[in-house]
Subunit: 734 residues, 2 copies
């Protein structure tokens, strides 16, 4: 061994040792945790260290009507009080105990990929009234053991375990957090990997690696759980995403955590510089003139919020009531959304269940280190698992209420994700409705109502991207579902420092954002599951088609007008809908058996906003897996097993269990319990404004009452008057 | 004359007399007004009585950093301080004096339809710096006299009058408020009209009539200024719109105010009942259980707003600066919008001028009393003329600043429209940008910035409809232009009381909303003029086309991806754009001579949101007039005379002077001073929730920087911290 090689070997060994040491230190608790600590931080969940927690700060003592968002809540004694309440800490512990002695798991290593409430049959939930005993509590568990996936039911009353599905499948369950974190250090066990990293000038201690789901591209990758790991340099910046080690991809076996293959193609591509990439205000303030350009502004409710959260999960606000819970896969689940009829005072069903079912994020670069990036964030990573504690005053306004999530680690230990969801009333200065008589009529009438809404928010940080998901409830009966994209781009290294160096025919697959940095074009699709129950479970779906109608000779001075024709969908294929600007329709979910006083069937319509459609080839492997984005709207008959648009086992799936496949069965959907699916889409051609961090881009769609109420339901809400508004003064620091 | 007939005649005469008396009383002041009063209320402007004014109320004394919105401001001594400042009270008076002795107007009746600043040549404005003398002030006047329309320039320094255009034209100027108000009482001079009204059971004193622009449908209506008047019963409700006297249409000559023709077709259709139509809170509270369901909520800025309005019209906020003025036709004009570069500190040009150029609102009912309803609200009614004083606390939040409009009455007398525009900072609890490191990487980073924006708002009440127009400026360089529709539907009377009475083949042209009330289907289009000057006047326009690219055999495991191709428009026809979900593009206005550090041309893109397209036959007379809605996007070379998308003289126009006609000239637009046009559209199929008043429906589009900045411009803005936020307590009434 030559001197140089020996030194390098010594360095690598030391570096590897140090890295592993650091990893071990981060991963394992230093001392046996207390019982309370266990609840908050599973011992085998490195990402849940005490350092990673929500920081407490000075609460606003004057807002004393309001739950204090900074108070850490103990969930040790939580008990379920509603049939849909999520599993409690005690219930998860019970599941863990029961399973640990079950034949499948005894005496062999296993991991639990999902431990969640098995919701009771819909009829039981619909029949349940407050005060009734709860239907039997059951847990639904997805586990890996003995090289296979298992779906089990654990009866929490009898401790009985039922295996509902077991064996090998084409897809795999959502990764555990442990899968992901251990995969990121797996490459360090490869000398080849370490050598190429160091050759590129990156210290192993500066490595930050990401676990990237690899999609499915044929036989070579079938039959075992795999992941691709790519790495970045975090030297001199927390924004390591801007410093890719381009072209280096490590294929890792998720079960053995062994390196399977290394693809090392970008050695000539420099690692982009760190300068101007750190986005932390504390760092920016060191080097730049900061802009203290905005005076303090806040939403104030000195009498406190107008909503209550009963029994931990039942939200009551204005004319709305719904059940709200965190979910490891979907992030947020809204159930039993009901709105109060202003005439009868009765609560009327609108939606049995609504959630973000799946995401699909294909990148548009077919080259070796990029082609496979076609994320399905909910089923692969767990949209809720990636939802971090919200930052009060910045993620949500000061008047927000916070809800924690209780999840299970891979070994079944329960832990608490603090402040995972916030609920707040929003007022942006907008107008709910108004009319002023015009000078033409001369009447002195002006009636205006400010628009105040209730927002439920969760933010999932799936590695670089931050998805802000809002469910916004309005007093006029409308529900707006809004998705905001922020966070950081996934960028590609390049040798180019200026567009003038790029040969004419060279395809960058994106935009040169800074020296040696390309923002790769990609799409985002978020598919929502909306089990509508408009005044009852059995509903129909109709397209109200707007078409140009030509007038006949002599009929009118007009030659044309728009006519609306209602076409009720009989089967699923009638409800596979691509939106068309020049062939528009409204899309109604209505109750054919319930009519308004003047005879219109009561309904809700889905109102698309700005969106994008997937243009990939339908036979392209990623589009087969993401085939639920082939239409913007689908309607399926309610089926307990059809909740995840990409399939239950999305990871490395081949697309046999998607919404598109279910819908092809073309089942009857008229006057049935139906589920509406809507996909919100974004094309993202990056630009320099997305560097080094992205301002939020949002889009939304609405669920809107259409002849659901006899008349506008908000006439009885009074306007603002000065005497009700708060008296405020600048804070003490002023 | 029989006894009965005599009684009826007596009654009619009395009723007519009373009505005229009432009208006269409302129209003319009771005593000679004082000089100050004159400024606020032109004697011949009945809609500007003291009763119609903004009501003062108790100001919030603690918000003493903030201009008091309730203070009536005197404009007697206003002086222009910027080349684009609107005409002042004194300047309008001067125009009036000069014109009254001009040959065209001396000794013959005349009316001024528009008196506004003739903006100086763009080069003069661009060259002007604060402290420089103003370019010569000129007024642009549109007048009717001696049966013709005249466009004049009045030089305010020399009193010189130049006639720029004179004679008869196919279209007519925007109606004066006097045209509209007098037209509404013109039918009362017809005994036939009065008789049919009384026969239908409506007292003449309960009549509320609307002046409805009649579009253009051929020769019979050419050669004279006409209007159609339709009436409603306001008995027992202020919401007379819900009580149409269906089928009764009176054609009135606008110049003579004589009835030309009466169409009386709906005698068998009952007038819908008044019950449950009044929307005033004071009335509703009398009869219903009201919903005091929301605790007070407000946007608070105890240190005052972060913006200043310099010299009455120059708004400076965060990194933005722009000139803001009211306009009788467009409502609001934003000029010289510039954004500060975070790196250089320099203010950079974004948009020279932006405004709502025209509206097109075709109703979809070809029958006698409805076919002609195809409003073009800006050019026919004056979008700004219909903008009423805003209601503080409800139309705009408590932290708003208000700006008055100064307009000219038909005789040239200046008057003040108080609180016509508001400007405020908005915070809805949204997130400007954020990133949290995920548990996968384990880094403890969470950076979040709340989204605070600046909103400029105007609300035009064009009879029944209320259009809320917001220009929203964001710190990331984005401008969002949002239009909200609220107010009241224009409804149709019908004999039907339930949908089960409607024969299968009967086309209602809308939805039965209540007994005897149909909400007629209609569209709304709002076309914006956006004179973009991205870092200078000469810009180009490009479609960045996203297309599926198939990979070649063996190139990649992927079969397809999206590729972006930039196509620069050479001439106008290259930039006539219909949006397509399945054939998407981005639309960039860029400066081909200015590049970022890495070589991207600096630009702004127009980002459509949800919208609708006009589907009427292109040869249909209304669509010929509204041909500017044939595409969603157009780009034209800058031309002083091309600002109003439907033509300068829109009233009864035949469509020869629209954006569509100009664009057909296919002029070069590459590297020129170009104007971008965007049309926002809505299809409105009414539903019962729109009765008796409509909750606001909004849509928007964005102007968004694209490689305009070197990087995200908002990194230097600090997050919220508790110590800066206000300390609030409930108001005294609590």
């Amino acid at each position: 061994m030559e001197h140089n090689s020996f030194l390098r070997f010594l360095f690598l060994t030391l570096a590897l040792g140090l890295t592993l040491l650091l990893f071990t230190w981060l991963t394992f608790p230093h001392a046996p945790p207390s019982a309370a600590e266990l609840l908050h931080c599973a011992t085998n969940s490195p990402w849940c260290t005490s350092k990673n927690r929500f920081q407490t700060h000075q609460p606003n003592l004057l807002n004393n009507h309001h739950p204090n968002p900074t108070r850490r809540r103990s969930h040790e004694h939580d008990a379920p009080r509603h049939p849909l309440d999520p599993l409690t800490v005690r219930e998860i512990s019970r599941v863990r105990t029961v399973l640990s002695s079950h034949a499948l798991f005894r005496a062999s290593p296993y991991s639990l990929h999902s431990v969640e409430l098995e919701e009771p049959e819909k009829s039981l939930v619909l029949g349940w009234r407050k005060g009734d005993p709860l239907p039997p509590r059951k847990a639904s568990v997805v586990a890996r053991a003995r090289g296979a996936s298992h779906v089990l039911t654990v009866d929490l009353t009898t401790d009985e375990v039922t295996v509902r599905r077991t064996g090998t499948h084409s897809g795999y369950p959502t990764m555990t957090m442990e899968d992901m974190t251990t995969a990121t250090v797996a490459p360090l066990s490869s000398a080849e990997f370490n050598r190429t990293v160091v050759t590129r000038g990156v210290d192993l201690t500066d490595l930050a690696c990401l676990p990237i789901s690899l999609g499915w591209y044929g036989e070579a990758e079938e039959g075992r759980r795999l992941i691709k790991v790519q790495c970045y340099s975090m030297k001199d910046t927390v924004n390591f995403y801007m410093r890719p080690i381009e072209g280096l991809t490590v294929l890792v076996d998720l079960d053995t955590q062994k390196v399977v293959e290394i693809s090392d193609k970008g050695r000539t591509i420099p690692i982009p510089k760190a300068s101007n990439t750190d986005y932390r205000y504390s760092k920016i303030a060191e080097h730049n003139r900061v802009m203290n350009i905005l005076n303090p502004i806040s939403i104030e409710q000195p009498k406190g919020p107008s909503f209550v959260v009963e029994d931990e999960h039942l939200v009551k606000w204005a004319n709305w009531e719904f059940h709200l819970k965190p979910d490891a896969r979907a992030g947020v689940i809204i159930s039993r959304a009901k709105v109060r009829d202003p005439d009868t005072g009765e609560l009327r069903d609108v939606m049995y269940k609504g959630l973000a079912s799946e995401l699909f994020v294909p990148y548009m670069d077919p080259t070796d280190a990029w082609y496979f990036k076609t994320y399905m964030d909910a089923g692969e990573y767990g949209f809720g698992l990636q939802a971090m504690p919200l930052d009060p005053l910045n993620d949500c306004p000061r008047n927000a209420y916070y809800m924690d999530g209780v999840f299970a680690a891979a070994d079944g230990t329960p832990y608490v994700r603090s402040n995972m969801i916030c609920v707040f009333e929003s007022y942006a200065g907008d107008i709910g409705w108004r009319h002023a008589e015009s000078p033409i009529t001369g009447m002195e009438v002006k009636e205006v109502r400010p628009k105040v809404t209730l927002v439920v928010r969760m933010v999932a940080s799936v590695a670089n991207y931050d998805y802000i998901v809002d469910w916004e409830f309005q007093t006029d009966g409308l529900i707006r579902i809004k998705v905001g994209l922020s966070g950081i781009l996934m960028v590609k290294g390049t040798q180019y420092e200026n567009t003038n160096q790029v040969p004419n025919q060279d395809n960058l697959y994106g935009t040169l954002l800074s020296e040696n940095v390309i923002g790769v074009i990609h799409d985002h699709y978020i598919t929502f599951y909306l089990d509508m129950d408009v005044d009852g479970s059995d509903n129909s779906f109709a397209k109200v088609h707007l078409q140009r109608e030509k007038t006949s000779q002599g009929e009118s001075p007009r030659r044309s007008y728009l006519k609306a024709t209602k076409n009720v969908a009989k089967t699923e294929k009638d409800a596979q809908i691509k939106l068309k600007l020049y062939d528009p329709s409204e899309f109604h979910v209505f109750n054919p058996t319930k009519k308004t006083r003047v005879g219109n069937p009561v309904g809700y319509k889905v109102v698309p906003g700005g969106t994008a459609a997937s243009l990939l080839d339908h036979d392209d492997p990623p589009q087969r897996r993401g085939a639920f984005t082939n239409n913007q709207i689908w309607v399926t008959p309610y089926n307990r097993s059809e909740q995840w648009a990409g399939g239950l086992f999305v990871y490395q799936s081949q697309g046999e269990d998607t919404l598109a496949v279910w819908s092809e069965r073309d089942r009857p959907i008229e006057n049935k319990d139906i589920v509406l699916w809507y996909t919100l889409g974004f094309h993202h051609v990056p630009c320099q404004e997305d560097y080094p961090i992205m301002p939020t881009v949002s889009s939304s769609f609405d669920l809107k009452p259409v002849n659901f109420f006899e008349s506008n339901p908000i006439l009885r809400i009074p306007p603002n008057v000065e005497k009700d508004l708060p008296v405020c003064r600048p804070a003490a620091s002023a």
